[in-house]
Amino acid sequence: MSEGEANGAGAPILVVEDLRVAYDTLAGPAMAVDGVSFSLKAGERLGLIGESGSGKTTMAMALLRLIRAPGRIVKGRVLLDGRDILTMSVGELREARLRDIALVPQGAMSSLNPVMLLEEQIADGILAHAPRTPRAELARRIEALLRGVGLDPSVARKYPHQLSGGMKQRAVMAIATSMRPRVIVADEPTSALDVVVQRQVMQTLGRLQGGLGAAVVLIGHDMGLIAQFADVVGVMYAGKLVELAPVEEIIAAPRHPYTRLLIDSLPSIAAKKRLIGIPGLPPRLVDLPPGCSFAARCPYAFARCRTETPSLQSTGGNRSAACHLYPEAQALPPLGAASGEARP
C-alpha cells in the first residue's frame, strides 16, 4: 500500500495511526487493540482476520467511535479523508457516520428493529442526515437501494421476522450504503449464514463497494472468505496487527509464524492431510508478559522473542510483519528447521 502511495495512485481515504483501545477490568486495563496502524485507498478492500478475542470487532467499533464503557480509546488517530474521527464533535461524528463511514454489523438477525417496517428503518438512516427528503424521493431511493442488494422492493413493507437470514443481511447492507459512504466497515457480515448465502452476500457487498468506489474493511475469522474478497489481508493477534500483505502473497508465502499456522490449519480439498490446529491459547490481554505475545505458541520462538516486543516492519515489497525473524530472514524458514517441539 505504501508503494501505491508513492506512485501517487491517490491519497488514502482511511488512515489508522497507532490505535489503542482498552477495556477497564478489575485486574487492570485489557488492551484489546494495541497500537494498530494501516491505511486504505478508495476502492481498496482490506480483510482483517484473527481468532476470537484478537480485537477485530473492537477495532471495527473504534473506527466508528462506537466504543462504550468499560471500553475506551486510549490513543491513536482514525483519519477519514484527513479528519480525525476520534476528535470530531458529536455533531460532526453523527454527520460522518453512514455518510462517510458506514457499518455492516455482525449478526443481521439482531441488527434490525423488530417492530419497524423495513422501509421505516432505511428511511431513518437517510432522514438522520437529510431530514427534509421528500416522501416520494425517499420511496424512490428505498426502492433503488433494495434493488441494489438484490431484494424485491415489496420487502420494504415487511417486518424483519418476515425475512430470511440472507434477506436480512442484504437489508442491512442496503441501509449501510444508503448515504453512499466512502468507507464501509463490515464486521463478520456473514456470521450465522449458510455457505451458499455467504457467497451471495459477499458478492453483493463487492458489487455495492465497486459501485460506490468505497474502501472496505472486512472483519472475519474465515480465511477462505477473506481471501476471496480482500485485496490486502491484515492478521490480528492479541490486539496487534502482526502481518499485512497483498492477499495472493500472504497465502502463497506467509511471513509471520502465526499466519503460517493459521493457513496450515485450513482444510484443503487437494491435499488430504490431518488437520492441525494451533496449540495453546491466546494470552490474557491484562498484564501481557514482555516480548512477543505469540512467543509461547510459536514454533520459531527464540530468546529475543520473550524479552522484546516486535513491531510491524517491512519484509520486502509492500508487505510487513511483526516478527524478530526479520529483517535477517528473507522468508519464513520451513517449519522443520525450527525446533518443532510445540507441534502435536
Binding site: L93, R97, L98, R99, A102, S110, P114, V115, M116, H129
Partner: protein, 288 residues
C-alpha cells in the same frame, strides 16, 4: 361466503387476537354505547331529587325503580356511568403519560435523575394508595369529577414507570440500537424512533390496568363520601344507598345495578388486558 369468513378467522388467528380480547372489547363497547345512547331514552330531570315517588321497585314505566330521594335509578345509571368512565380515563391517560415520561427519562438518562424517580416510585408503590388519596381528597375544599381524576392520577404512574423503565433498559442494549447509533441517528431519534415503538405493547397493557385501578380508586373514595357528591356517578350512587341503609331495607334495585355495571367494566378491562397481553407476548398465545 364461507371462504371470506374463513379468511377473517385465519387473519385473526394469525394476529393472535383471541376470543378473550374480542369479548373484553365487546363488553367495553356495550358500556360505552349504553352511556352514549342512553341519554336519548331517559329524561335528565328524573335524576334530580324528588323527581318521582321514592322507594319504588322496578316497574314497566321505571325499569329500575327509584331511590329514597325519588330519583329514577335507570336515569342515574345512564348519567353516572359516563362520569365514572371519564374519571377513570382521565386518570389513566395522565397516569400512563407520567409513567411513560418518567420511565423513558429514568431508563435513558440514568444517573441521579433515574435514582430519584426509582426511589420515589418504589416508596409510593409500598404505601396503600387509598390511604394517601383519602387524606388528599378529605382536605380539598372543592371537589368535582375532574379534580377527582387528577387526585387519583397523582398516584397512578408508578407501575407504568417501573414497566417502561425496565423495558428501556433492556431495549437500549439491543444490537439494532447500536446500529442506529452507527448510522448517525441522534440519541433523541434513537429514543423516539427506535426504542418507543418497542414500548407500545407495554404502554397499552399498563394503560388498561391503570384505567381499571383508577376507576376502583375513584369508586372507593366516592363510596366513603369523599367524591363530588353533587354529581351523578356510580360511586356516589353506592354512597347514597349506604347512607340510606339500602341493603338492610331490601332496596336491591338501588345498590344492585351500579354494582353490576362496575363489575362489567372491570370484567371488560380485565379481558382486554389479558387479550392484549397475548397479542403483545406471542409466547403466551399458544399456551393451553
Amino acid at each position: 361466503m364461507s371462504g371470506g369468513l374463513k379468511g377473517l378467522r385465519m387473519k385473526l388467528a394469525e394476529r393472535r387476537i383471541g376470543g378473550v380480547l374480542i369479548l373484553g372489547l365487546a363488553i367495553l363497547a356495550l358500556i360505552v354505547l349504553f352511556s352514549l345512547v342512553g341519554p336519548l331514552f331517559v329524561d335528565a330531570h328524573n335524576a334530580h331529587v324528588g323527581a318521582m315517588t321514592p322507594r319504588r321497585p322496578p316497574s314497566f314505566d321505571h325499569w329500575l325503580g327509584s331511590d329514597s330521594q325519588g330519583r329514577d335509578m335507570l336515569t342515574l345509571l345512564v348519567y353516572g356511568t359516563p362520569n365514572t368512565l371519564k374519571m377513570g380515563l382521565i386518570a389513566g391517560i395522565i397516569g400512563v403519560g407520567l409513567g411513560l415520561v418518567f420511565g423513558l427519562v429514568g431508563g435513558s438518562l440514568g444517573g441521579a435523575i433515574d435514582t430519584v424517580i426509582r426511589v420515589v416510585a418504589d416508596a409510593l408503590l409500598t404505601v396503600p394508595a387509598i390511604a394517601i388519596l383519602v387524606i388528599i381528597a378529605g382536605n380539598l375544599d372543592r371537589m368535582s369529577t375532574n379534580i377527582m381524576a387528577l387526585v387519583v392520577a397523582s398516584l397512578s404512574w408508578m407501575f407504568t414507570t417501573r414497566t417502561i423503565r425496565a423495558q428501556v433498559l433492556s431495549v437500549r442494549e439491543r444490537a439494532y440500537i447500536e446500529v442506529a447509533r452507527a448510522n448517525g441517528e441522534s440519541e433523541w431519534e434513537i429514543l423516539f424512533r427506535e426504542i418507543m415503538p418497542n414500548l407500545m405493547p407495554f404502554a397499552v397493557a399498563s394503560f388498561v390496568g391503570t384505567v381499571g385501578s383508577a376507576i376502583l380508586a375513584v369508586i372507593s373514595l366516592e363510596a366513603l363520601g369523599l367524591g363530588a357528591l353533587e354529581e351523578t356517578t356510580l360511586g356516589n350512587t353506592i354512597y347514597w344507598s349506604q347512607q340510606s341503609a339500602a341493603i338492610l331495607r331490601g332496596y336491591w334495585w338501588w345498590w344492585g345495578p351500579p354494582i353490576v355495571v362496575i363489575a362489567l367494566i372491570f370484567l371488560g378491562l380485565f379481558l382486554t388486558s389479558v387479550g392484549f397481553d397475548r397479542f403483545a407476548n406471542p409466547r403466551l398465545a399458544n399456551r393451553a
